[in-house]
């Protein structure tokens, strides 16, 4: 046991003396949260739109006011005719045009339908869809508030309610994503580098000649990075709650436990990488290409897994971050408990056990 403590102490010295790396490791989560929160947001705000109001009656004006008042839209142009539409889009001034037909109000009050045309610039399809949805919601709202609305007994209303995230905040989905990314990076990359470094330096030989049991070497390498991971989790959660206004709806102990589990899985992956690479560059490359990219792509926080081709969906199951992302979303945002995430937790635990078993077996006690 004392051997083990001496080893951990030495690892902590390495970690604390490398100021630059330490700074990156602590700074990275904060930087990422802030960048994702304030710069790389997929929310659409203040989009420039145009209105082509052929009716100019009370109903159309009222809807235009509502559009104008919303924080999503800025009406930058009032178009005179259909012919102005194309140039406005081509000049790139607007992303959406709202077109009212003539006699919009009388059609609405007397006819069966009153069409409004939404024309969106779909060069960026996601933004286009989002804008169309926002506009639709505002128009529906207007219809809902119309006097005598109840007199339309046969009108079918589609009503959206955004559960758990009524304001559709992007931060609700990227906080769990950033947590997965950081834990993967700190855990897997740093652990693998720290072991491979000793191989490069030649100190590993000396350690292997000594009577210390290999499993203790492995554990001593893991402890400091596990601590670091938990510190990072704490800082991410603090920023999320106090700066990004992302609530922690579920149980805190459960969330911490799940983070701990995922951090361990990342460390086990790091050990595995260290046993198959002989230089720090190789270890870093494998960590980035083999772990970091799949974490970003397949965890579901940037690209929805449901939209991927079936083979990729199947492949995404071996990415630990996917399961962790589900768990954190459920526990943190939805506020559910173990009863909804036990399956994912079990999968992660299984991965951890298998990875640890393989990496301990592969950790070479003899240098061949």
């Amino acid at each position: 046991m004392k051997q083990f403590l001496y080893f951990i102490r030495k690892e902590l010295y390495h970690l604390l003396r490398d100021r630059r790396t330490l700074f990156i490791l602590f700074g990275m989560p904060m930087a990422q949260i802030l960048i994702f929160g304030f710069a790389l947001t997929n929310e659409v705000k203040n989009s420039r739109i145009a209105v082509l109001d052929n009716a100019k009656d009370e109903a159309s004006t009222s809807i235009v006011h509502r559009l104008e008042a919303s924080r999503y839209f800025d009406i930058v142009k009032n178009l005179g005719s259909n012919a102005d539409l194309q140039p406005a889009f081509q000049e790139g001034q607007i992303r959406l045009a709202v077109v009212f037909p003539e006699q919009f109000q009388s059609q609405l009050l007397h006819g069966h339908s009153a069409p409004i045309q939404l024309i969106a610039d779909a060069t960026d399809p996601n933004v286009a869809t989002t804008l169309a949805n926002y506009a639709t919601a505002i128009i529906m709202d207007y219809q809902h508030d119309m006097p005598g609305f109840v007199d339309f007994p046969y009108t079918i209303n589609t009503e959206f309610r955004m559960l758990y995230n009524p304001q559709l905040k992007g931060s609700y989905s990227f906080v769990p994503g950033v947590m997965a990314m950081i834990l993967m990076l700190v855990g897997a990359m740093m652990t693998s580098i720290s072991i491979v470094k000793e191989k490069e330096l030649g100190t590993m030989e000396v350690i292997l000649v000594s009577p210390i049991v290999p499993i203790r070497v492995i554990l001593a390498k893991m402890v400091p990075y596990l601590l670091l991971s938990m510190v990072n989790i704490a800082s991410i959660l603090l920023i999320s709650v106090y700066i990004m206004d992302v609530p922690i709806n579920g149980s805190m102990p459960l969330l911490v436990f799940e983070c701990f589990l995922f951090a361990l899985t990342a460390l086990a992956l790091g050990l595995l990488i260290s046993s198959i690479s002989n230089s720090q560059q190789v270890a870093m490359l494998i960590s980035l290409m083999g772990l970091f990219l799949p974490t970003v792509m397949f965890s579901g926080f940037m690209f929805p897994v449901e939209n991927m081709p079936v083979p990729l969906q199947v492949l995404s199951n071996i990415v630990p971050a996917k399961w962790f992302y589900y768990i954190v979303k459920d526990v943190m945002i939805k506020g559910t408990g173990m009863e909804t995430v036990w399956k994912e937790t079990l999968v992660l635990t299984g991965m951890l056990v298998v990875l640890l078993a393989i990496s301990i077996k592969k950790f070479k006690t003899r240098l061949e």
């Binding site: 080893f7 000396v206 061949e368």
Partner: protein, 248 residues
């Protein structure tokens, strides 16, 4: 096999696929002896040494190190040997004291023992006042001497030195060999590889490996006589020329 010997090796062999790196070597090293283990690059001496340290498993043959069987009692062997690798093996971002504490710690020394050892070592190497200096800041000669002292921190019965004086200036080499003599005088068996033939002359006995086999083994004086040579350098060159392998 000689039970009294510090190291006793019989027909030890290591094959990597078709390649026989070490071919049935047999020798004994006495207690307190300084044993020079020579050979050209690629002759197999590092592989042989690694087998004796438990870093590499032999393909066949038998060996006892410090009285323990290489196959069955490797844990006991590890407690009784020290090892200084070709590469510099101290942590540059740790101080002298911290390096010593770490290596002492993994050999199971108590805090007091580690303290005493560190004190002794600093005085011995005349590095008083440098205990809290990062190893990175020391000149290479000091580092090598320090490395040797750290390999000796747990008072091993046998110490394995793999080209300990590579790249070191002649004065420091001389000092280093003084340290080796003193260690041997205290009863430690020293097993050393080197490419410097003047160093070979300092050894009690030397063996010369060619193509994985031990071609000659005796005291430097007798080897020089036997090969009708002026010094170990000539003996070595005569033997090494016979090599068929010429890989780096």
């Amino acid at each position: 096999m000689n039970r009294e010997a510090a190291i006793s090796v019989s027909h030890l062999t290591k094959r990597f696929g078709d390649f026989t790196a070490v071919d049935r070597i047999t020798f004994d090293v006495g207690k307190g002896e300084i044993f020079g283990f020579l050979g050209a690059n690629g002759a197999g001496k590092t592989t042989a040494m690694r087998m004796l340290c438990g870093l590499s498993l032999p393909t066949s043959g038998r060996a006892q190190v410090a009285g323990f069987d290489l196959y069955k009692e490797s844990e006991k062997i590890k407690k009784n040997i020290g090892y200084m690798s070709q590469k510099f093996s101290l942590y540059e971002d740790l101080t002298i004291r911290e390096n010593n504490r770490f290596y002492g710690g993994i050999y199971g020394l108590t805090n007091q023992q580690i303290k005493d050892k560190t004190q002794f070592m600093l005085e011995y190497l005349r590095l008083e006042g440098k205990a809290d200096t990062l190893v990175r800041a020391l000149p290479l000669g000091w580092k090598q001497k320090l490395s040797f002292s750290v390999a000796m921190v747990h008072d091993p019965k046998i110490v394995f030195l793999d080209e300990p004086t590579g790249g070191v200036d002649p004065v420091t080499r001389r000092e280093f060999w003084t340290m080796i003599y003193e260690a041997a005088h205290r009863g430690t068996t020293v097993f050393v590889t080197t490419h410097y033939m003047d160093e070979a002359e300092y050894c009690d006995r030397v063996s010369i490996m060619v193509d994985g086999r031990i071609e000659a083994l005796d005291t430097p004086a007798r080897l020089t006589g036997q090969y009708n040579a002026k010094g170990m350098e000539e003996v070595f060159v005569q033997l090494a020329r016979k090599a068929k392998r010429n890989d780096g």
